[in-house]
Amino acid sequence: MTGKLTPPAARTRLGLEMTAAVAPNSLQLQCCEQCTTVQYPPREVCRCCLSGDLTWRAVEPAGTVMASSALHHCLDPWFEQRAPWLMGSVKLDCGPLVLAHLAAEVTAAGSPVWVFSLKDASGQAVLIAISQSLALDQAQIRAQQLILSDLQEMT
């Protein structure tokens, strides 16, 4: 093994666009300029109207946890070293269903969360869900702290 192990860095061209769109304290997702659909995962065209006119924009970061899981075995070595790893699915108020890293306090279904897009230690964008019991600005700070601590505090 050479070099430091990082979270998975592989992305498609559209995944790299998500990384390029990362901006402080926000959730940046792909938006359709023709019909205003917000979509995730990123696509080449709009899932609703098939327009190719798509822009990454800051969207409303509020959502609700649908289900969570503690991954005890992961094929990726970075996660395997940190198992069990908490992740889950979040239904965003602005439409899409996203898979995200979950802070430990929001594993229950129905938990209201803020979701942010941030760069992890691989340099690529990931989504992180933080409890809405924190005010938005506090949640932004917590999300940044988690990323800087290599997400170690999440599990």
Binding site: P7, P8, A10, R11, T12, L14, G15, M18, Y40, P41, P42, M66, A67, S68, S69, A70, L71, H72, H73, C74, L75, D76, F79, P84, W85, M87, G88, S89, K91, L97, V98, L99, A100, H101, A109, D120, Q124, V126, L127
Partner: protein, 393 residues
Amino acid sequence: MSRKPKPYQGVALIAPYTVPYERVSERGAAWFIGRTLAGMLQQCGLEKSAVDGLAVSSFTLPPDSVITLTEHFGLQPRWLEQIPLGGASGVVAMQRAARAVQAGDVEVVACIGGDTASVGGFTDLVSNFSNFTVDAAYPYGAAGPNAAFSLITRYYMDNYGATREDFGRIALSQRYNANHYPDALFYKKKLDMPSYLEAPPIAGDVHLFDCVMPCAGADGFIVTTVERARQLQVPWVEILSCAEQHNAFPEDPVQYRGGWNYFREDLYAAAGLGPDDMQFLQTYDDYPVICMLQMEGLGFCDQGEAPAFVRETPLTFDGEGLPHNTSGGQLSVGQAGSAGGYLGLVDGLRQLTGRADQHQVAGAEVGLVSGYGMVNYDRGLCTSAAILQRGVL
């Protein structure tokens, strides 16, 4: 659906065949597919030259494909199909081949799902399964289907009160069936409820015996005319109805139903039968919660009632309830890649042609085979189902 599909009159399904599964193999996918073709032909007495159509499903075949296989196998077909629909592939291949035979485009179509399994091959497959996987699942540790299905399992448990023991009933009955099917990887291994419940957790509520064992192998069958089956003097199976539906209910935040709910009524109406008439049910069983979605979606019980249904209904091949995944399913036979989308159909054909030996459902004349597959992000996208009946001489 405004248009009504024509019946599948005159079409015969023959020669169900399975190449015994292996945990890992250095052989290529073409070995498993080719040996299945050989076994199918030998079983029904057809020459290789009679094969004028070939449908293949395989994850590990690339860079080869169904066309390169024609040269590999020395075939001269005039109809080819490659179906990348995972666990829905078997029924879909059957349906498309049946229409081609019925229209007179071809007379003998070999349909085969098969894969090899190299050491490390599974990791390579799942880490680059699709663009959505790469961008939106793998970065969260969700490589492979375990994570997605653990979320579906959790949601189902929260909403319908299913317990791990309910899922265990499915796993245990399938293991019992596999203990009567010598080609199953777990033929000689028994499973009881304490062992099921105490098995190590893999992802959330998904534990070891909820997961299939990736392996190498292949399953196949031949689609031809009833006339040809009669000439060959082999038992055959007829299609009473079948359907496929993909990307159903895209707005459901978590998958708790599937394409079966779209086509169920038409499927039974075309067959002139209902769920109570089915003498077995083969579901795609990667993972037990998905079996429950199929039991509900195909009308064996109401939405959310599958936990109660499996508590009340014996699911073994000889339990006189609803024989379910009669060879043991992927959970106990193994998941040989794309063969997993054929396994239930091929065992259904064995049941309906009286060739299931130790795990034969007594007097099986009609049964239902369901398919499900392809997790691109957070749910399986493909569904299919067929009602099949023993052919009458």
